[in-house]
Protein backbone atom coordinates (compact mmCIF):
# COMPACT_ATOMS: atom_id res chain seq x y z
CA UNK A 1 0.00 0.00 0.00
CA UNK A 2 2.90 2.29 0.70
CA UNK A 3 3.96 1.77 -2.89
CA UNK A 4 0.54 2.73 -4.19
CA UNK A 5 0.69 5.93 -2.15
CA UNK A 6 4.03 6.74 -3.73
CA UNK A 7 2.57 6.00 -7.15
CA UNK A 8 -0.27 8.38 -6.44
CA UNK A 9 2.17 11.11 -5.39
CA UNK A 10 4.08 10.71 -8.63
CA UNK A 11 0.96 10.64 -10.79
CA UNK A 12 -0.25 13.81 -9.10
CA UNK A 13 2.96 15.61 -10.03
CA UNK A 14 2.98 14.58 -13.68
CA UNK A 15 -0.77 14.98 -13.96
CA UNK A 16 -0.87 18.52 -12.61
CA UNK A 17 2.14 19.59 -14.66
CA UNK A 18 0.61 17.91 -17.71
CA UNK A 19 -2.69 19.74 -17.26
CA UNK A 20 -0.90 23.05 -16.91
CA UNK A 21 1.23 22.21 -19.94
CA UNK A 22 -1.88 21.38 -21.95
CA UNK A 23 -2.95 24.99 -21.53
CA UNK A 24 0.48 26.27 -22.38
CA UNK A 25 1.52 27.19 -18.87
CA UNK A 26 5.01 26.72 -17.40
CA UNK A 27 6.46 25.68 -20.74
CA UNK A 28 10.20 26.21 -20.64
CA UNK A 29 10.90 25.48 -24.30
CA UNK A 30 11.90 28.43 -26.45
CA UNK A 31 11.22 27.78 -30.11
CA UNK A 32 14.79 28.53 -30.93
CA UNK A 33 15.36 29.98 -34.37
CA UNK A 34 12.16 32.01 -34.33
CA UNK A 35 12.35 32.85 -30.66
CA UNK A 36 15.57 33.61 -28.81
CA UNK A 37 16.20 33.38 -25.14
CA UNK A 38 17.57 36.57 -23.63
CA UNK A 39 21.25 36.18 -23.07
CA UNK A 40 23.05 37.46 -20.00
CA UNK A 41 24.78 40.79 -20.47
CA UNK A 42 28.20 39.27 -20.06
CA UNK A 43 27.56 36.43 -22.50
CA UNK A 44 30.77 35.16 -24.10
CA UNK A 45 30.08 35.03 -27.82
CA UNK A 46 32.15 35.55 -30.91
CA UNK A 47 35.06 37.98 -30.62
CA UNK A 48 35.29 41.39 -32.20
CA UNK A 49 38.31 43.61 -32.74
CA UNK A 50 37.37 47.14 -31.75
CA UNK A 51 38.32 50.53 -33.11
CA UNK A 52 38.71 53.90 -31.45
CA UNK A 53 36.03 56.50 -32.24
CA UNK A 54 38.44 58.11 -34.70
CA UNK A 55 38.61 54.87 -36.68
CA UNK A 56 42.00 53.69 -35.49
CA UNK A 57 42.40 50.04 -34.64
CA UNK A 58 42.82 49.34 -30.95
CA UNK A 59 44.95 46.26 -31.49
CA UNK A 60 48.65 46.93 -31.11
CA UNK A 61 49.79 43.44 -32.06
CA UNK A 62 51.28 42.68 -28.65
CA UNK A 63 50.22 39.00 -28.73
CA UNK A 64 49.19 39.01 -25.07
CA UNK A 65 45.84 37.50 -26.06
CA UNK A 66 47.64 34.70 -27.86
CA UNK A 67 49.78 34.15 -24.80
CA UNK A 68 46.80 34.09 -22.46
CA UNK A 69 44.75 31.76 -24.61
CA UNK A 70 44.52 28.35 -22.92
CA UNK A 71 43.28 26.70 -26.13
CA UNK A 72 46.07 28.19 -28.22
CA UNK A 73 43.57 29.25 -30.83
CA UNK A 74 44.73 32.84 -31.42
CA UNK A 75 47.46 33.66 -33.87
CA UNK A 76 48.74 37.23 -33.97
CA UNK A 77 51.55 38.74 -35.95
CA UNK A 78 52.30 42.36 -35.24
CA UNK A 79 53.91 44.79 -37.66
CA UNK A 80 55.23 48.33 -37.48
CA UNK A 81 52.70 50.93 -38.37
CA UNK A 82 53.46 52.41 -41.75
CA UNK A 83 54.34 56.05 -40.92
CA UNK A 84 52.22 57.49 -43.71
CA UNK A 85 49.18 55.31 -42.99
CA UNK A 86 49.10 54.24 -39.32
CA UNK A 87 46.54 51.58 -38.47
CA UNK A 88 46.70 52.01 -34.70
CA UNK A 89 47.74 54.88 -32.46
CA UNK A 90 50.72 52.94 -31.14
CA UNK A 91 53.95 51.92 -32.69
CA UNK A 92 52.73 48.59 -33.98
CA UNK A 93 49.45 47.10 -35.09
CA UNK A 94 47.99 43.63 -35.51
CA UNK A 95 49.06 42.72 -39.03
CA UNK A 96 47.64 39.22 -38.91
CA UNK A 97 44.93 38.28 -36.46
CA UNK A 98 43.30 34.85 -36.60
CA UNK A 99 41.12 32.95 -34.17
CA UNK A 100 40.33 29.30 -34.72
CA UNK A 101 36.73 29.11 -33.57
CA UNK A 102 36.80 25.33 -33.52
CA UNK A 103 39.36 25.42 -30.75
CA UNK A 104 38.18 28.48 -28.87
CA UNK A 105 36.56 27.68 -25.53
CA UNK A 106 35.13 31.18 -25.06
CA UNK A 107 36.78 31.66 -21.69
CA UNK A 108 37.40 35.34 -22.29
CA UNK A 109 41.00 35.30 -21.09
CA UNK A 110 42.08 37.05 -24.28
CA UNK A 111 39.70 39.86 -23.41
CA UNK A 112 41.15 40.14 -19.96
CA UNK A 113 44.70 40.02 -21.24
CA UNK A 114 44.25 42.77 -23.82
CA UNK A 115 45.87 45.98 -22.60
CA UNK A 116 43.95 48.21 -24.99
CA UNK A 117 40.53 46.53 -24.90
CA UNK A 118 41.00 45.80 -28.54
CA UNK A 119 39.40 42.36 -28.37
CA UNK A 120 36.02 41.96 -26.73
CA UNK A 121 33.21 39.52 -27.20
CA UNK A 122 29.78 39.91 -28.79
CA UNK A 123 26.61 37.94 -28.21
CA UNK A 124 26.87 36.03 -31.49
CA UNK A 125 26.83 32.32 -30.79
CA UNK A 126 25.65 30.89 -34.12
CA UNK A 127 29.01 30.24 -35.69
CA UNK A 128 28.39 27.13 -37.74
CA UNK A 129 30.37 27.05 -40.96
CA UNK A 130 30.02 25.12 -44.16
CA UNK A 131 33.71 24.44 -44.43
CA UNK A 132 36.22 23.66 -41.70
CA UNK A 133 38.55 26.31 -43.01
CA UNK A 134 35.89 28.97 -42.59
CA UNK A 135 36.03 28.37 -38.85
CA UNK A 136 39.37 30.19 -38.71
CA UNK A 137 38.23 33.78 -38.47
CA UNK A 138 40.70 36.21 -39.92
CA UNK A 139 41.09 39.86 -39.23
CA UNK A 140 38.66 40.69 -42.05
CA UNK A 141 35.93 38.86 -40.20
CA UNK A 142 36.82 40.07 -36.72
CA UNK A 143 37.65 43.74 -37.12
CA UNK A 144 34.73 46.12 -36.91
CA UNK A 145 34.14 48.52 -39.78
CA UNK A 146 34.88 52.18 -39.30
CA UNK A 147 31.18 52.88 -38.74
CA UNK A 148 31.24 50.48 -35.78
CA UNK A 149 29.39 47.59 -37.44
CA UNK A 150 30.82 44.16 -36.87
CA UNK A 151 31.33 41.73 -39.77
CA UNK A 152 29.76 38.31 -40.00
CA UNK A 153 31.31 35.52 -42.04
CA UNK A 154 28.03 34.73 -43.76
CA UNK A 155 26.53 38.17 -43.86
CA UNK A 156 24.24 37.30 -46.78
CA UNK A 157 22.88 34.27 -44.96
CA UNK A 158 19.15 34.89 -44.42
CA UNK A 159 19.38 33.22 -41.02
CA UNK A 160 22.31 35.31 -39.80
CA UNK A 161 21.19 37.37 -36.84
CA UNK A 162 23.42 40.42 -37.08
CA UNK A 163 21.92 42.08 -34.02
CA UNK A 164 23.79 39.57 -31.93
CA UNK A 165 26.99 41.18 -33.09
CA UNK A 166 26.00 44.62 -31.90
CA UNK A 167 25.64 43.46 -28.34
CA UNK A 168 29.02 43.29 -26.73
CA UNK A 169 29.72 40.95 -23.90
CA UNK A 170 29.86 43.67 -21.27
CA UNK A 171 33.43 42.91 -20.54
CA UNK A 172 34.28 43.05 -16.87
CA UNK A 173 37.48 44.72 -15.88
CA UNK A 174 38.41 41.92 -13.56
CA UNK A 175 42.01 42.86 -13.21
CA UNK A 176 42.71 46.26 -11.86
CA UNK A 177 46.02 47.83 -11.17
CA UNK A 178 45.08 48.34 -7.55
CA UNK A 179 44.00 44.75 -7.08
CA UNK A 180 40.80 45.92 -5.37
CA UNK A 181 37.90 43.80 -6.50
CA UNK A 182 35.08 45.89 -5.02
CA UNK A 183 33.99 48.54 -7.48
CA UNK A 184 30.56 49.39 -6.16
CA UNK A 185 28.71 52.04 -8.09
CA UNK A 186 31.12 52.08 -10.98
CA UNK A 187 30.27 50.93 -14.47
CA UNK A 188 32.68 48.12 -15.06
CA UNK A 189 31.28 46.87 -18.31
CA UNK A 190 29.98 48.26 -21.51
CA UNK A 191 27.04 46.98 -23.45
CA UNK A 192 28.09 47.82 -26.98
CA UNK A 193 31.25 47.14 -28.91
CA UNK A 194 33.52 50.08 -29.37
CA UNK A 195 35.53 52.28 -27.10
CA UNK A 196 35.12 51.92 -23.40
CA UNK A 197 32.32 54.06 -22.07
CA UNK A 198 33.86 54.57 -18.70
CA UNK A 199 36.46 57.00 -17.45
CA UNK A 200 40.04 55.84 -17.46
CA UNK A 201 40.93 54.03 -14.30
CA UNK A 202 42.85 56.16 -11.80
CA UNK A 203 46.33 55.04 -11.01
CA UNK A 204 47.05 52.93 -8.00
CA UNK A 205 48.18 55.70 -5.67
CA UNK A 206 45.11 57.83 -6.24
CA UNK A 207 42.69 54.94 -5.87
CA UNK A 208 44.24 53.40 -2.81
CA UNK A 209 44.87 56.67 -0.97
CA UNK A 210 43.45 56.41 2.57
CA UNK A 211 41.06 59.38 2.21
CA UNK A 212 40.29 58.55 -1.25
Amino acid sequence: MGMLKDFWKGFKVTGSIGLRGLFGKDIVTTRYPSEMREKPTRFHGRHVLNRYPDGMEKCIGCELCAGACPARCIYVRGADNPPDDPQSPGERFGYVYEINMLRCIFCGLCVEACPTEAITMTHLFEMSVGDRRDAIHTKDELLMAEDGSVPHIYREDPFADLSELDAADGWLRATSPSGVAAYEGETMWQSTPGPASWEPEPDQETRDAPDG
Binding site: F11, T14, I17
Partner: protein, 371 residues
Protein backbone atom coordinates in the same frame (compact mmCIF):
# COMPACT_ATOMS: atom_id res chain seq x y z
CA UNK B 1 -21.98 -15.28 -50.72
CA UNK B 2 -21.79 -13.17 -53.84
CA UNK B 3 -19.38 -10.47 -54.94
CA UNK B 4 -21.08 -7.78 -52.84
CA UNK B 5 -20.34 -9.74 -49.69
CA UNK B 6 -16.80 -10.24 -50.81
CA UNK B 7 -16.44 -6.54 -51.48
CA UNK B 8 -17.86 -5.70 -48.08
CA UNK B 9 -15.44 -8.02 -46.31
CA UNK B 10 -12.55 -6.47 -48.20
CA UNK B 11 -13.83 -2.99 -47.44
CA UNK B 12 -14.10 -3.86 -43.75
CA UNK B 13 -10.57 -5.18 -43.56
CA UNK B 14 -9.11 -2.31 -45.54
CA UNK B 15 -11.14 0.18 -43.53
CA UNK B 16 -9.93 -1.17 -40.20
CA UNK B 17 -6.38 -1.30 -41.54
CA UNK B 18 -6.49 2.31 -42.69
CA UNK B 19 -8.15 3.47 -39.48
CA UNK B 20 -5.48 1.73 -37.45
CA UNK B 21 -2.63 3.31 -39.41
CA UNK B 22 -4.22 6.73 -39.02
CA UNK B 23 -4.76 6.20 -35.30
CA UNK B 24 -1.18 5.04 -34.86
CA UNK B 25 0.05 8.19 -36.52
CA UNK B 26 -2.01 10.25 -34.12
CA UNK B 27 -0.97 8.09 -31.17
CA UNK B 28 2.75 8.52 -31.69
CA UNK B 29 2.28 12.25 -32.00
CA UNK B 30 -0.02 12.29 -28.99
CA UNK B 31 2.41 10.40 -26.82
CA UNK B 32 5.14 12.88 -27.61
CA UNK B 33 2.80 15.77 -26.89
CA UNK B 34 1.40 14.34 -23.65
CA UNK B 35 4.79 13.41 -22.28
CA UNK B 36 6.14 16.81 -23.32
CA UNK B 37 3.31 18.55 -21.49
CA UNK B 38 4.12 16.56 -18.39
CA UNK B 39 7.76 17.63 -18.61
CA UNK B 40 7.19 21.35 -19.21
CA UNK B 41 8.18 20.96 -22.85
CA UNK B 42 6.39 21.69 -26.10
CA UNK B 43 7.00 18.51 -28.04
CA UNK B 44 6.88 18.45 -31.82
CA UNK B 45 5.72 21.81 -33.17
CA UNK B 46 7.13 22.18 -36.67
CA UNK B 47 5.53 19.62 -38.98
CA UNK B 48 1.96 20.76 -39.55
CA UNK B 49 -0.20 22.53 -36.98
CA UNK B 50 1.09 21.63 -33.51
CA UNK B 51 3.42 19.17 -35.18
CA UNK B 52 0.62 16.72 -35.97
CA UNK B 53 2.39 15.55 -39.13
CA UNK B 54 5.56 14.75 -37.20
CA UNK B 55 4.92 11.01 -37.36
CA UNK B 56 4.43 11.21 -41.11
CA UNK B 57 7.72 13.05 -41.45
CA UNK B 58 9.50 10.53 -39.23
CA UNK B 59 7.96 7.66 -41.14
CA UNK B 60 9.05 9.08 -44.48
CA UNK B 61 12.53 9.63 -43.13
CA UNK B 62 12.78 6.06 -41.84
CA UNK B 63 11.41 4.75 -45.11
CA UNK B 64 14.20 6.34 -47.11
CA UNK B 65 16.98 5.58 -44.67
CA UNK B 66 19.62 2.99 -45.26
CA UNK B 67 18.81 -0.40 -43.82
CA UNK B 68 21.98 -1.62 -42.22
CA UNK B 69 22.27 -5.39 -42.01
CA UNK B 70 25.03 -6.42 -39.63
CA UNK B 71 27.35 -9.16 -40.80
CA UNK B 72 26.57 -11.67 -38.07
CA UNK B 73 22.79 -11.73 -38.40
CA UNK B 74 20.80 -14.87 -39.02
CA UNK B 75 19.31 -13.39 -42.15
CA UNK B 76 16.06 -15.33 -42.45
CA UNK B 77 14.86 -14.68 -38.93
CA UNK B 78 16.27 -11.17 -39.00
CA UNK B 79 14.15 -10.24 -42.00
CA UNK B 80 11.10 -12.12 -40.74
CA UNK B 81 10.95 -10.56 -37.28
CA UNK B 82 9.60 -7.09 -38.21
CA UNK B 83 6.74 -8.66 -40.15
CA UNK B 84 6.07 -11.02 -37.30
CA UNK B 85 5.69 -7.97 -35.10
CA UNK B 86 3.36 -6.02 -37.35
CA UNK B 87 1.03 -8.76 -38.59
CA UNK B 88 -0.23 -9.96 -35.17
CA UNK B 89 -0.59 -6.34 -34.11
CA UNK B 90 -2.98 -5.72 -37.01
CA UNK B 91 -4.77 -9.01 -36.46
CA UNK B 92 -5.44 -8.17 -32.82
CA UNK B 93 -7.16 -4.97 -33.78
CA UNK B 94 -9.28 -6.79 -36.33
CA UNK B 95 -11.06 -8.41 -33.39
CA UNK B 96 -12.21 -5.17 -31.79
CA UNK B 97 -15.86 -4.35 -32.52
CA UNK B 98 -16.06 -0.68 -33.44
CA UNK B 99 -19.83 -0.39 -33.46
CA UNK B 100 -23.09 -2.30 -33.55
CA UNK B 101 -22.99 -2.61 -37.34
CA UNK B 102 -24.41 -0.78 -40.31
CA UNK B 103 -26.94 -1.62 -42.96
CA UNK B 104 -25.21 -1.52 -46.34
CA UNK B 105 -26.85 -2.72 -49.54
CA UNK B 106 -29.47 -4.60 -47.58
CA UNK B 107 -26.90 -6.51 -45.59
CA UNK B 108 -25.94 -5.94 -42.00
CA UNK B 109 -22.22 -5.23 -41.83
CA UNK B 110 -20.55 -5.61 -38.46
CA UNK B 111 -18.10 -2.80 -37.80
CA UNK B 112 -15.30 -5.16 -37.06
CA UNK B 113 -12.47 -6.65 -39.03
CA UNK B 114 -13.69 -10.13 -38.25
CA UNK B 115 -16.15 -11.40 -35.68
CA UNK B 116 -14.61 -14.63 -34.45
CA UNK B 117 -16.50 -16.65 -31.90
CA UNK B 118 -13.16 -17.27 -30.19
CA UNK B 119 -12.14 -13.60 -30.35
CA UNK B 120 -10.57 -13.42 -26.91
CA UNK B 121 -8.55 -16.59 -27.40
CA UNK B 122 -7.38 -15.26 -30.74
CA UNK B 123 -6.24 -12.05 -29.08
CA UNK B 124 -4.26 -13.97 -26.48
CA UNK B 125 -2.74 -16.15 -29.19
CA UNK B 126 -1.76 -13.19 -31.32
CA UNK B 127 -0.26 -11.25 -28.44
CA UNK B 128 1.87 -14.32 -27.76
CA UNK B 129 2.86 -14.43 -31.40
CA UNK B 130 4.06 -10.84 -31.13
CA UNK B 131 6.55 -11.97 -28.51
CA UNK B 132 8.08 -14.31 -31.08
CA UNK B 133 8.97 -11.25 -33.13
CA UNK B 134 10.87 -9.75 -30.24
CA UNK B 135 12.60 -12.99 -29.37
CA UNK B 136 13.52 -13.73 -32.98
CA UNK B 137 14.76 -10.19 -33.53
CA UNK B 138 16.91 -10.47 -30.43
CA UNK B 139 18.20 -13.89 -31.33
CA UNK B 140 18.92 -13.29 -34.99
CA UNK B 141 20.70 -9.97 -34.57
CA UNK B 142 23.89 -11.74 -33.55
CA UNK B 143 24.65 -9.14 -30.94
CA UNK B 144 24.52 -9.30 -27.18
CA UNK B 145 22.16 -6.45 -26.31
CA UNK B 146 19.36 -7.59 -28.60
CA UNK B 147 19.80 -11.10 -27.27
CA UNK B 148 19.39 -9.87 -23.69
CA UNK B 149 16.29 -7.96 -24.75
CA UNK B 150 14.87 -11.04 -26.42
CA UNK B 151 15.48 -13.22 -23.39
CA UNK B 152 13.82 -10.66 -21.18
CA UNK B 153 10.84 -10.51 -23.52
CA UNK B 154 10.32 -14.26 -23.21
CA UNK B 155 10.29 -14.23 -19.43
CA UNK B 156 8.15 -11.12 -19.26
CA UNK B 157 5.56 -12.40 -21.70
CA UNK B 158 5.15 -15.66 -19.84
CA UNK B 159 4.76 -13.95 -16.48
CA UNK B 160 2.21 -11.40 -17.56
CA UNK B 161 0.20 -13.35 -20.07
CA UNK B 162 -0.96 -15.72 -17.36
CA UNK B 163 -2.32 -12.88 -15.26
CA UNK B 164 -3.92 -11.29 -18.29
CA UNK B 165 -5.61 -14.52 -19.30
CA UNK B 166 -6.95 -15.10 -15.79
CA UNK B 167 -8.35 -11.57 -15.69
CA UNK B 168 -10.06 -12.22 -19.01
CA UNK B 169 -11.56 -15.46 -17.67
CA UNK B 170 -13.18 -13.54 -14.83
CA UNK B 171 -14.75 -11.14 -17.32
CA UNK B 172 -15.98 -13.90 -19.61
CA UNK B 173 -17.51 -15.69 -16.65
CA UNK B 174 -19.17 -12.55 -15.43
CA UNK B 175 -20.59 -11.67 -18.81
CA UNK B 176 -22.32 -15.06 -18.83
CA UNK B 177 -24.58 -13.71 -16.08
CA UNK B 178 -25.88 -10.83 -18.19
CA UNK B 179 -29.66 -10.79 -18.60
CA UNK B 180 -30.73 -12.87 -21.55
CA UNK B 181 -27.35 -14.58 -21.85
CA UNK B 182 -27.53 -18.33 -22.18
CA UNK B 183 -23.86 -19.10 -21.80
CA UNK B 184 -20.48 -17.49 -21.68
CA UNK B 185 -18.96 -16.17 -24.84
CA UNK B 186 -15.52 -15.37 -26.19
CA UNK B 187 -16.82 -13.21 -29.01
CA UNK B 188 -15.98 -9.60 -28.37
CA UNK B 189 -19.04 -8.31 -30.19
CA UNK B 190 -21.19 -10.45 -27.91
CA UNK B 191 -19.37 -9.28 -24.77
CA UNK B 192 -19.93 -5.67 -25.73
CA UNK B 193 -23.62 -6.20 -26.39
CA UNK B 194 -24.02 -7.77 -22.97
CA UNK B 195 -22.72 -4.56 -21.40
CA UNK B 196 -25.46 -2.37 -22.87
CA UNK B 197 -28.08 -0.82 -20.63
CA UNK B 198 -27.72 0.04 -16.97
CA UNK B 199 -27.50 -1.81 -13.70
CA UNK B 200 -31.16 -1.13 -12.97
CA UNK B 201 -32.69 -4.22 -11.46
CA UNK B 202 -29.36 -5.86 -10.78
CA UNK B 203 -28.26 -4.18 -7.56
CA UNK B 204 -31.30 -4.90 -5.39
CA UNK B 205 -32.27 -2.22 -2.89
CA UNK B 206 -29.58 0.13 -4.23
CA UNK B 207 -31.45 0.45 -7.52
CA UNK B 208 -32.63 4.04 -7.03
CA UNK B 209 -29.08 5.16 -6.22
CA UNK B 210 -26.93 3.08 -8.53
CA UNK B 211 -29.47 2.05 -11.15
CA UNK B 212 -28.39 4.71 -13.63
CA UNK B 213 -24.81 3.45 -13.88
CA UNK B 214 -24.13 1.82 -17.26
CA UNK B 215 -23.79 -1.91 -17.20
CA UNK B 216 -20.05 -2.01 -17.76
CA UNK B 217 -17.94 -4.87 -16.56
CA UNK B 218 -15.51 -2.57 -14.79
CA UNK B 219 -17.87 -1.98 -11.88
CA UNK B 220 -18.13 -5.55 -10.62
CA UNK B 221 -14.74 -6.54 -12.09
CA UNK B 222 -12.57 -3.63 -11.04
CA UNK B 223 -9.79 -5.88 -9.73
CA UNK B 224 -9.76 -7.81 -13.00
CA UNK B 225 -9.52 -4.49 -14.81
CA UNK B 226 -6.52 -3.41 -12.73
CA UNK B 227 -4.80 -6.73 -13.39
CA UNK B 228 -5.63 -6.64 -17.08
CA UNK B 229 -4.39 -3.09 -17.46
CA UNK B 230 -1.12 -3.77 -15.65
CA UNK B 231 -0.57 -6.88 -17.71
CA UNK B 232 -1.41 -4.94 -20.89
CA UNK B 233 1.28 -2.38 -20.08
CA UNK B 234 3.71 -5.24 -19.59
CA UNK B 235 2.54 -7.05 -22.74
CA UNK B 236 3.16 -4.01 -24.90
CA UNK B 237 6.63 -3.55 -23.35
CA UNK B 238 5.87 -0.05 -22.19
CA UNK B 239 7.42 1.84 -19.32
CA UNK B 240 7.72 0.90 -16.48
CA UNK B 241 7.90 -2.62 -17.92
CA UNK B 242 10.04 -1.75 -20.93
CA UNK B 243 12.94 -3.95 -19.91
CA UNK B 244 12.89 -5.43 -23.37
CA UNK B 245 13.98 -2.12 -24.85
CA UNK B 246 15.58 -0.49 -21.79
CA UNK B 247 17.53 2.23 -23.58
CA UNK B 248 19.79 2.88 -20.62
CA UNK B 249 20.89 -0.73 -20.22
CA UNK B 250 20.47 -2.42 -23.58
CA UNK B 251 20.98 0.42 -26.08
CA UNK B 252 17.70 -0.34 -27.85
CA UNK B 253 17.06 -3.88 -26.73
CA UNK B 254 15.77 -6.21 -29.42
CA UNK B 255 15.73 -3.53 -32.12
CA UNK B 256 19.31 -2.33 -31.59
CA UNK B 257 20.47 -3.77 -34.89
CA UNK B 258 17.44 -2.67 -36.90
CA UNK B 259 17.34 0.52 -38.88
CA UNK B 260 15.23 2.19 -41.50
CA UNK B 261 11.85 0.76 -42.35
CA UNK B 262 12.51 -2.44 -40.42
CA UNK B 263 12.89 -0.44 -37.23
CA UNK B 264 9.81 1.55 -38.20
CA UNK B 265 7.82 -1.66 -38.36
CA UNK B 266 8.72 -2.56 -34.78
CA UNK B 267 7.84 0.96 -33.78
CA UNK B 268 4.53 0.75 -35.63
CA UNK B 269 3.75 -2.59 -34.00
CA UNK B 270 4.40 -1.20 -30.54
CA UNK B 271 1.99 1.68 -31.02
CA UNK B 272 -0.64 -0.48 -32.69
CA UNK B 273 -0.40 -2.83 -29.73
CA UNK B 274 -0.85 0.02 -27.28
CA UNK B 275 -3.99 1.14 -29.01
CA UNK B 276 -5.37 -2.37 -29.50
CA UNK B 277 -4.74 -3.23 -25.86
CA UNK B 278 -6.57 -0.07 -24.79
CA UNK B 279 -9.39 -0.77 -27.22
CA UNK B 280 -9.66 -4.31 -25.87
CA UNK B 281 -9.66 -3.06 -22.30
CA UNK B 282 -12.41 -0.62 -23.27
CA UNK B 283 -14.30 -3.42 -24.96
CA UNK B 284 -14.04 -5.87 -22.09
CA UNK B 285 -14.48 -3.49 -19.19
CA UNK B 286 -15.80 -0.11 -20.32
CA UNK B 287 -18.72 -1.22 -22.43
CA UNK B 288 -16.99 -0.95 -25.80
CA UNK B 289 -19.06 1.08 -28.24
CA UNK B 290 -21.98 1.37 -25.83
CA UNK B 291 -23.09 4.90 -25.17
CA UNK B 292 -25.99 7.23 -25.86
CA UNK B 293 -26.64 7.53 -29.59
CA UNK B 294 -29.86 9.60 -29.30
CA UNK B 295 -31.40 7.64 -32.15
CA UNK B 296 -34.17 9.62 -33.78
CA UNK B 297 -33.05 12.90 -32.21
CA UNK B 298 -29.93 13.18 -34.32
CA UNK B 299 -29.49 12.59 -38.04
CA UNK B 300 -29.18 8.92 -38.87
CA UNK B 301 -25.53 9.02 -39.88
CA UNK B 302 -24.54 10.73 -36.63
CA UNK B 303 -26.26 8.03 -34.61
CA UNK B 304 -24.53 5.42 -36.75
CA UNK B 305 -21.10 6.89 -36.18
CA UNK B 306 -21.48 7.76 -32.50
CA UNK B 307 -20.70 4.25 -31.18
CA UNK B 308 -17.33 4.37 -32.95
CA UNK B 309 -16.67 7.71 -31.31
CA UNK B 310 -17.58 6.37 -27.88
CA UNK B 311 -15.17 3.48 -28.32
CA UNK B 312 -12.43 5.84 -29.46
CA UNK B 313 -13.05 8.13 -26.50
CA UNK B 314 -12.86 5.29 -24.02
CA UNK B 315 -9.76 3.86 -25.67
CA UNK B 316 -8.05 7.22 -25.75
CA UNK B 317 -8.67 7.77 -22.05
CA UNK B 318 -6.78 4.53 -21.46
CA UNK B 319 -4.10 5.46 -24.00
CA UNK B 320 -3.48 8.71 -22.15
CA UNK B 321 -3.16 6.72 -18.94
CA UNK B 322 -0.52 4.61 -20.72
CA UNK B 323 1.38 7.78 -21.54
CA UNK B 324 0.84 9.13 -18.06
CA UNK B 325 2.33 5.97 -16.58
CA UNK B 326 5.28 6.26 -18.92
CA UNK B 327 5.92 9.85 -17.89
CA UNK B 328 5.68 9.02 -14.20
CA UNK B 329 7.03 5.63 -13.19
CA UNK B 330 10.69 4.63 -13.40
CA UNK B 331 11.55 1.28 -14.94
CA UNK B 332 11.28 -1.75 -12.68
CA UNK B 333 14.32 -3.77 -11.81
CA UNK B 334 14.24 -7.23 -13.36
CA UNK B 335 13.57 -9.08 -10.11
CA UNK B 336 10.84 -6.57 -9.27
CA UNK B 337 9.22 -7.29 -12.61
CA UNK B 338 9.23 -11.01 -11.88
CA UNK B 339 8.02 -10.50 -8.31
CA UNK B 340 5.14 -8.33 -9.46
CA UNK B 341 4.17 -10.83 -12.10
CA UNK B 342 4.46 -14.13 -10.27
CA UNK B 343 4.01 -13.22 -6.61
CA UNK B 344 1.45 -10.43 -6.88
CA UNK B 345 -0.56 -10.38 -10.09
CA UNK B 346 -1.02 -14.10 -10.72
CA UNK B 347 -2.07 -14.95 -7.12
CA UNK B 348 -4.28 -11.88 -7.05
CA UNK B 349 -5.97 -12.80 -10.31
CA UNK B 350 -6.49 -16.37 -9.08
CA UNK B 351 -8.03 -15.19 -5.83
CA UNK B 352 -10.22 -12.78 -7.73
CA UNK B 353 -11.27 -15.53 -10.10
CA UNK B 354 -12.29 -17.73 -7.17
CA UNK B 355 -14.16 -14.88 -5.48
CA UNK B 356 -16.07 -13.92 -8.59
CA UNK B 357 -16.82 -17.57 -9.35
CA UNK B 358 -18.31 -18.04 -5.91
CA UNK B 359 -20.33 -14.82 -6.09
CA UNK B 360 -21.60 -15.57 -9.58
CA UNK B 361 -22.44 -19.10 -8.52
CA UNK B 362 -24.49 -17.86 -5.57
CA UNK B 363 -26.33 -15.40 -7.75
CA UNK B 364 -27.09 -17.97 -10.40
CA UNK B 365 -27.90 -21.02 -8.32
CA UNK B 366 -28.58 -19.69 -4.83
CA UNK B 367 -26.82 -20.59 -1.59
CA UNK B 368 -25.71 -24.20 -1.21
CA UNK B 369 -27.84 -26.38 1.05
CA UNK B 370 -30.39 -23.57 1.00
CA UNK B 371 -33.10 -25.64 -0.53
Amino acid sequence: MDWVDLLLVAARVVGVFALLLLLTMVNVWMERKVVADMQNRLGPMRAGPWGILQTLADGLKLFFKEQVTPRKVDLGAYLLAPFLAVVPAFLIFMMVPLGPGWEVAGRSVPLQGADLNIGLLFILAMSSMAVYAVVLAGWSSGSKYPLLGGVRATAQAISYEAAMGLAMVAVVMFSATAPGAESGTLSLAEIVERQSGTWEGAVGFLDPVLGFIPRWNIFPQVVAFAIFFTAAVAETNRAPFDLVEAEQELVGGFHTEYSGIRFAMFFLAEYINIFSMCAIAATLFLGGWNGPVWAGMLPGWVSAILPVIWLMLKSYVLVVVFFWIRATLPRLRYDQLMTLGWKRLIPLSMVWLVISTVVIGFRQFGLPFGG
